[in-house]
């Protein structure tokens, strides 16, 4: 699994939307993937999500996580029939058990839903920078201190990732073997790796707190922001589209039984 940011630096129409609009669209598509249960209906949502991912230039990210996507699809497809009542004609009979048409469609629908969620999330992070994610959290009304912590964590993450790798190399040079022994011994082998990373990280907190407070950092006062980005015409269109998707999905599903098994 890669540990680099999945953000794709590009100037696509998806990138140009504010984080708030992208959150709105991602939420709307997720609701559609959740509400529908037939493989065809969820498959349409999945196709739209794929389109958004491709439009945002995120297909290369899909190549980085394809293994997870396939694994989740297969696990969902194998597991869900065991938790579904058998109805309709049998479509597959094996010595281990049989699969009815209802079980097949139910499992396919659920597996498409899992993949849809992943693709929608992937499209969002492909088109939204870390700063954009934090701005998005702030724009949906989360407290400033929380957003500040998320933003700081996102900035510190690559630093600690690099520190963890450096410590691993140093400890391996001293003879640490993380792949030797039984599972318990292997878990315990991580102690010499975790302690230096952790203690080093915590030591920085005091210096950073003082630096912040010296610059007047205070989470209790009302804050103003430089460069606040208002919603542009394309954002209003995106939010209208998101609303349309949600309303259309709910009316179609619960009013007319569209996409229901």
């Amino acid at each position: 699994m890669s540990t680099r940011s999945l953000y794709v630096s590009a100037d696509t129409p998806v990138h140009r939307l504010t984080a708030r609009s992208k959150i709105g669209l991602a939420t709307a598509l997720s609701i559609a993937a959740f509400v529908f249960t037939t493989p065809i209906a969820v498959g349409i949502v999945l196709a739209v999500a794929f389109g958004a991912l491709a439009w945002a230039g995120g297909l290369r990210n899909l190549r980085r996580v394809w293994f997870i996507v396939v694994a989740l699809f297969v696990v969902g497809f194998v597991v869900w029939p065991a938790f579904t009542p058998a109805r309709g004609p049998t479509v597959l009979a094996t010595p281990l058990g049989s699969l009815s048409s209802y079980e097949l469609r139910f499992a396919l629908g659920r597996s498409f839903r899992i993949v849809s969620f992943i693709i929608i999330g992937l499209a969002f992070v492909s088109a939204t920078s870390n700063e954009g994610i934090v701005r998005g959290l702030r724009s949906i009304g989360l407290p400033y201190a929380f957003c500040f912590a998320v933003g700081t964590a996102l900035r510190l993450f690559p630093t600690f990732l690099s520190a963890a790798d450096t410590v691993r190399q140093a400890q391996e040079a001293r003879g640490l073997d993380l792949s030797a022994g039984n599972p318990i011994e292997r878990v315990r082998g991580y102690v010499p790796l975790l302690v230096p990373v952790f203690v080093n990280a915590v030591r920085q907190v005091n210096d950073q707190s003082m630096a912040l407070e010296a610059r007047g950092f205070d989470t209790r006062g009302e804050r103003t922001f430089h460069g606040k980005r208002p919603l542009a015409g394309r954002d209003w269109i995106a939010l209208a589209l998101a609303t349309l998707i949600v309303v259309g999905t709910l009316v179609g599903r619960y009013g007319f039984g569209v996409g229901a098994l």
């Binding site: 890669s2 540990t3 680099r4 940011s5 999945l6 997720s30 959740f34 996580v65 293994f67 997870i68 694994a71 989740l72 696990v75 597991v79 869900w80 065991a82 938790f83 659920r110 839903r113 899992i114 969620f117 992943i118 929608i120 999330g121 992937l122 992070v125 994610i133 407290p143 929380f146 500040f148 912590a149 998320v150 700081t152 964590a153 996102l154 510190l156 993450f157 630093t159 600690f160 990732l161 963890a164 790798d165 599972p183 318990i184 292997r186 878990v187 991580y190 102690v191 975790l194 302690v195 990373v197 952790f198 203690v199 990280a201 915590v202 920085q204 907190v205 005091n206 912040l212 989470t219």
Partner: protein, 275 residues
Amino acid sequence: MREVFTMWRDTRMILLVAVVAAVYAAILLPFKVFTILPGLTSVRPANAFPVVFGLMFGPAAAWGSAIGNLIADIFGGTFGPGSLGGFVGNFFFGFVGYKLWGNLGPLSSGEEPNMRSIRQVVEYVLIAVASSAMCAVIIAWVADLLGLVPFSVLAPIIMVNNTLAAAVLGPPLLYLTYPRIKDIGFLYPELLADEELSAAGASRRYVAAYGLLVVSLVWLGVGLLVGTGAAPGTLTVGLVGLVGFVLVLAFAIIGAERLSAILERAGARPAGRNR
């Protein structure tokens, strides 16, 4: 539960949230001991962090674990509606530890969690099991509600992963790091004033602590019975989860931490600490 909100007034606690989140995500993503289901679940050493951090940093560890898991989802390509369950589950993974430490009556060591005695290790392992169960049931409940993976498949996997890493790695990590963190003065009772910490009498603290312990395990057990169809009646995983979650919130609200009193008794924290 007051400290979960009041901690956001303190700059060092806010930075601890960020550091815990970043360290958790930085260890969570690249390092895994072994894989259980390829691409889906592995035993990861980072799963020890929320419990260990929780005992030292209290509410900052709860928020940090939640945010760290979210960052791991964002960088790992699994960000989505299921991340909500991961956020809440990991919050409680870090939250349960500091609420239970010192509040388990005869099962508590009554000492600081520096892992210098067998009683401390026993108390720690009990807390690691409860925290792991709490995290497992919440994540599996949300995943089941979203129709991603059935509760009875996901909950035992997360429970085993978390318990193994937390129980095996936690005691040596605390043994090595707790004294250092205490020397730096970054234990949560040293950063938060009395009025920022929840206060409760002994009986209420015990009820809340045992409530959290019992609910996490009973929720797991009943959820598995209902999820596998072994339980009769009209119970559903969703309903069991709803009742369980409401009870967890209730016990979380009425409970209080104990480490501040333990430190005061040891002379490591002034009684009636004010900001």
